[in-house]
Point group: C2
Chain length 362, copies 2
């Protein structure tokens, strides 16, 4: 069975192996004894070295404004989504605030929002059909997961609170049009450099009170975030920034250039396979000017969001019959004619996926 | 200001520095790319090496039965407490289940239970005065935090669900009487080896369904637990077990023997200081037979739980006037005549605490 239902970013292992010892980290036994990283920072468990490399990378890539922002580190961006919901909801309100997102939305949003049956916030469904008065929180994923398109908020009312999940706003997935500049912006190591197992995400937060409340959430939830993983993440981000600058001086291999080329090749193979069997369709993405690569580049989403054609009602089941485990449309708030498949597995598994896809017939 | 309100275990840094490179860990950049550690395990993000060392250490120390138990790793034991509340509560119930603990209880319990306003569980207060019918969850901390005494459940009704928080059930804090053998038992690295910054805790769980639900909670909360910290924790636990076995063969310094001696010395200094000024009282602990040390040992709690005598109503404020930040009784569900002070800071800060305490006068 090919397990392509989650977005496990195993593709990146190859690059990091090639980098050899550049990102190897050595941590002595007496390190990270204390709960605290920097008691002068609102986010008192944020490692200064990690914060420094976050700012540097965003400056190198040009995908986010960091000036005047508070950085809150999380155990992956999942924890930061919950922290942001906690921070934005009104703790004295009689009713929980509605949390919405435009379908197809990231399949975990409804589950994460509702699993604790919180009285602070509750899942309000598809943002496109949200018509209740009063305050709401809208989760905006851009580029969208699962579709891959750049998106913006859809409700657009004055009493809306926005959380921008920019996990895929990196030059190997999408053209960088300008530095993002939102109230709360979330990023994660899992999808940027591929280090999912470190469980490190970060939020760029405009408002000090919101940053304080997000920090409070993480304090009550896990009393901070692994220092080891923050230190490792700092080193990984440093090498990504370094590799970009070295590339400009023809000295090394740029992480983003390498990853872009892998994704470009994968999408080429995928298009050929899908065209060959005629069972599926997926979006065509226009190219866009990328300020990072300083040229027109393609949208190369981490997932393919496919629609089954002909009379196929359940695309997930069809793929399962061909030993491909995917995630069906119902998880994303739409019909089972749609399916999301990860394109971030190892070369071996990706090629197996292409082989199975190519040989599929009704 | 001496900050002794949290239990930051900085005392242990000295030991780990002495151990030199024994617990140094080197992690190459391509490690921990995947979300998954072991897909055959219910807790699919549990690193097998960490699980192995948890079992070994409990066998070496004799403080917990591990046979037939599921291990669930958490981002500190805080996350595991929430995971256990989630796992034990009935998701179809009309009312949230009451969560109780005998006062004085760990000050974070009410905050952690209620901060999300969960419809699954809610803080029910002091277990000693809990008189509602129906199911409940009782948090049992043994030895107790803040008091330091070994404790057991106090409600003792047939419809009670128990979570045993045994953060301090280690031979340097308390005589080990027998291997703990409960439905859900929680431990944490922060208080056992002192590595608070790693954010690693673990649960030993009897029931498979409960282990599954705890795992699900962590999946929805943080999609697993830092692999780097699990790998480091595995190495630290290994050195603790090794140091114990080497001590038996006169080759090294045992972590527990070292830590016991530091705590014994600190309690001696503390008693002398408190007797000198006559402002405070605290419990006398009887010695007990420790199966680990194979002799009678003392109770040497990580915190001192002091009561102000004479007419002092607010012990926390009194200490604050003398530049000692502590945590007052109200946080633990009792009067402000009581105060909890951490004894786990560095030698320097501990000695400063003793100096300030000794020189205190009304």
């Amino acid at each position: 069975m090919l397990v392509l239902c989650s977005g496990d970013p195993k593709m990146y292992e190859k690059f990091w192996r090639k980098m050899g010892d550049k990102t190897t980290i050595t941590i002595p036994g007496w390190k990270s004894i204390s709960y605290f990283s920097d008691t002068t920072n609102i986010c008192w468990f944020l490692e200064p070295e990690f914060a420094k490399e976050v700012v540097r990378l965003h400056n190198v890539v040009g995908n986010a404004v960091t000036e005047g922002r508070y950085i809150v580190v999380g155990t992956g961006s999942s924890q930061l989504i919950l922290a942001a919901l906690y921070a934005l909801s009104s703790h004295g309100a009689a009713e929980p605030i509605d949390v919405v997102s435009a379908a197809p939305y990231y399949s975990s949003y409804p589950l994460m929002t509702d699993f604790q049956k919180s009285g602070l916030y509750k899942w309000g469904g598809d943002a496109k059909s949200f018509d209740k008065d009063g305050p709401y929180i809208e989760l905006v994923t851009s580029p969208n997961n699962p579709e891959g398109h750049p998106t913006g908020p859809v409700v657009n009312r004055s009493n809306g609170l926005l959380i921008h999940d920019l996990a895929y706003y990196w030059p190997h997935y999408t053209p960088i049009s300008s530095p993002s500049d939102h109230d709360i912006t979330l990023f994660t190591l899992s999808k940027s450099t591929g280090h999912a197992g470190l469980r490190i995400g970060w939020a760029l937060v405009k408002d000090q009170e919101v940053a304080k409340r997000m920090t409070k959430f993480i304090e009550l939830n896990t009393i901070g975030v692994s220092k080891d993983s923050q230190l490792r993440a700092a080193k990984v981000l440093k090498v990504v920034s370094d590799s970009t600058e070295e590339e400009n001086t023809q000295e090394g291999e740029s992480f983003f250039k390498y990853s872009y080329e892998v994704m470009e090749q994968r999408w080429k193979q995928l298009r050929a396979a899908v065209e060959a069997n005629g069972l599926f369709t997926f979006a065509n993405f226009p190219t866009g000017f990328c300020t990072f690569f300083n040229k027109k580049t393609q949208h190369l989403p981490a997932f393919v969001w496919m629609k089954c054609e002909k009379d196929i009602e359940d695309c997930q089941s069809l793929l399962l019959q061909h030993k491909i485990r995917s995630r069906g449309g119902k998880h994303f708030g739409v019909s089972q004619r749609y399916v999301r498949v990860s394109l971030l597995d190892t070369d071996e598994n990706f090629n197996l996926f292409i082989d199975r896809l190519s040989s599929m017939q009704l």
